[in-house]
């Protein structure tokens, strides 16, 4: 593995008692790419992302994010990473503006920087009209926009998104995919896009890792993988991989 990798994972394993959630997974994500992380629910995608941020300890294996070792330099990793979990709630008594200021303070960013970034993100996600309304009554789509805004507030170099398009309407989804392309292209942000919506992964990612029942079953260039498995679409590829594993 070379230093151009933003994320390097080797033999990553996570066990919860008798259950193996992630089993010896090895892959690497290049700097500035939008990397697809595919697999059905329970395949181990979320656990892998959580391990990368030190939210759950590794059972074995190693992982590095931007050259920093997971488990030993967790706080430094979090300082340079943005994260949107698949399942979360926003503080119901806060407004989006208050919440973004709170998150900015957690990163220790200067007040004026937080204020400027907050306003820019509120505009970017079309939340200005709702910026001072309590988050309690927000729709799923609006909640997801605030979730994405908080993930971008620290201008992360690595962005870990777990099912980010769920809850978004078609327009919101299109805008998000466009934003992620722009972040990778213009700002060199490394994006790990975890999803089971294969069309989103196909639209966004050149390279993918596919998890199935806690194990990595494919990793590499999408076109190469498709050719290798005789698949025309991402759906075909995924089904071919899963069926091969089941056989």
């Amino acid at each position: 593995m070379t230093t151009t990798h933003a994320i390097e994972v080797e033999g990553l394993t996570k066990r919860f008692g008798e259950v193996t959630a992630v089993d010896g997974v090895t892959f690497a994500v290049e700097s500035g790419e939008v990397f697809g992380f595919m697999g059905h629910n329970g395949a181990g995608k979320t656990t892998t992302l959580r391990m990368l941020l030190g939210l759950t300890p590794l059972t074995s294996g190693t992982a590095r994010v931007l050259g920093r070792e997971v488990g030993r330099e967790t706080i430094e990793i979090r300082r340079t990473a943005g994260y949107l979990p698949a399942h979360y709630t926003l503080p119901p008594d806060m407004t989006p503006r208050q919440f973004l200021h709170y998150v900015g303070a957690m990163f220790g960013l200067p007040r004026d920087v937080v204020a400027a970034r907050t306003e820019a993100l509120l505009r970017r996600f079309d939340l200005v009209h709702a910026a001072d309304r309590a988050l309690r009554g927000f729709s799923t789509g609006m909640t997801q926009k605030v979730g994405l805004a908080q993930a971008l507030l620290n201008e992360p170099r690595v962005l870990l998104l777990d099912e980010p398009t769920s809850g978004l309407d078609p327009l919101g989804r299109h805008e998000l995919l466009e934003l992620l392309r722009e972040l990778a292209r213009d700002k060199g942000v490394t994006v790990v896009f975890s999803s089971h919506i294969l069309s989103d992964v196909e639209a966004l990612c050149r390279r993918v890792a596919v998890l199935h029942r806690a194990r990595l079953v494919a990793f590499g260039d999408v076109d190469h993988l498709k050719a290798q498995h005789g698949a025309r679409t991402m759906d075909d590829l995924y089904l071919a991989l899963v069926r091969k594993e089941a056989a």
Binding site: I75, E76, P85, Y88, D93, V103, A105, M106, R111
Partner: protein, 255 residues
């Protein structure tokens, strides 16, 4: 960190449970003078026996500390702090916040300090409101002695909040944390004045932190810094210890 602490304090202040606590304290302030308009004879006799005389101000302070504020200190810290970090974990807020560059013990300490600050705000607010209201309603009310006597009680309230948070840090279940907090604080507060009833046990009761908050009750006529400072210092140290113990409890907690 100071900015984050301030924002967290404001966020805690805006929570519904804070408004509930504020409403309870307001009720206590407004109701006590009404209840004291005709105190039962046996209460007056008991106070005369315990405190040497049954003057109206001593009677009022006993009722205010033991029947009102001590009950509040058994209940409000549990409402404010028994679910800190646990509630965020259970509702899903922690899955976002735990990914920020703040370790779980530091996040716990942040939330615990905010809960203490809110408890202090409510406590001070109640005393200041009471100061105005009681001056007009309570015969023989002495504002300075009232404020002096309630200052160590404020520190006891802060300790109770830290203690409740520490239980949350180790129990890790909101319901159990609240029940244990209520039971232990209720017991400590129930025993806090026993040194006045049984002078022979007075020194022994000083190991009860909640007794330190009510010590001034036995010396309302001559309260000075040397009476007030030691219990306040002891309660401050105990509060810091409780936060540190609670923070150690959440070290391995996952969002």
């Amino acid at each position: 960190m100071i900015r984050l602490q301030w924002l967290d304090y404001l966020a805690t202040l805006r929570e519904r449970k804070t408004w509930l606590c504020g409403a309870m304290l307001l009720y206590a302030v407004l109701s006590i003078p009404v209840m004291l308009a005709r105190p039962p004879a046996h209460v007056q006799e008991a106070i005369a026996a315990w405190f040497g005389h049954g003057g109206p101000f001593v009677l009022f302070m006993y009722v205010w500390i033991d029947l009102a504020m001590n009950k509040m200190v058994a209940f409000l810290p549990v409402v404010l702090a028994s679910g800190i970090v646990l509630r965020e974990r259970d509702v899903g807020v922690l899955s976002i916040l735990a990914a920020k560059p703040l370790s779980m013990p530091r996040y716990f300490a942040l939330r615990a300090v905010s809960a203490c600050a809110v408890m202090a705000t409510l406590h001070v607010g109640a005393q200041l409101l009471g100061l105005v209201y009681f001056t007009a309603r309570v015969p023989g009310f002495r504002p300075l002695a009232f404020l002096a006597a309630m200052t160590p009680h404020l520190f006891a309230a802060i300790f109770a909040t830290c203690f409740s948070a520490a239980i949350a840090g180790w129990v890790k279940h909101r319901g159990a944390s609240a029940l244990i907090g209520l039971a232990v604080l209720g017991l400590l507060l129930g025993l806090s004045l026993i040194g006045f009833y049984q002078p022979a046990w007075r020194n022994l009761t000083l190991v009860n932190p909640m007794s330190l908050g009510a010590l001034a009750l036995g010396n309302l006529d001559h309260l000075g810094p040397k009476d007030l400072a030691p219990p306040m210092l002891a309660l401050s140290l105990l509060s810091l210890a409780a936060i540190a113990i609670g923070a150690a409890g959440v070290r391995r907690m996952e969002a």
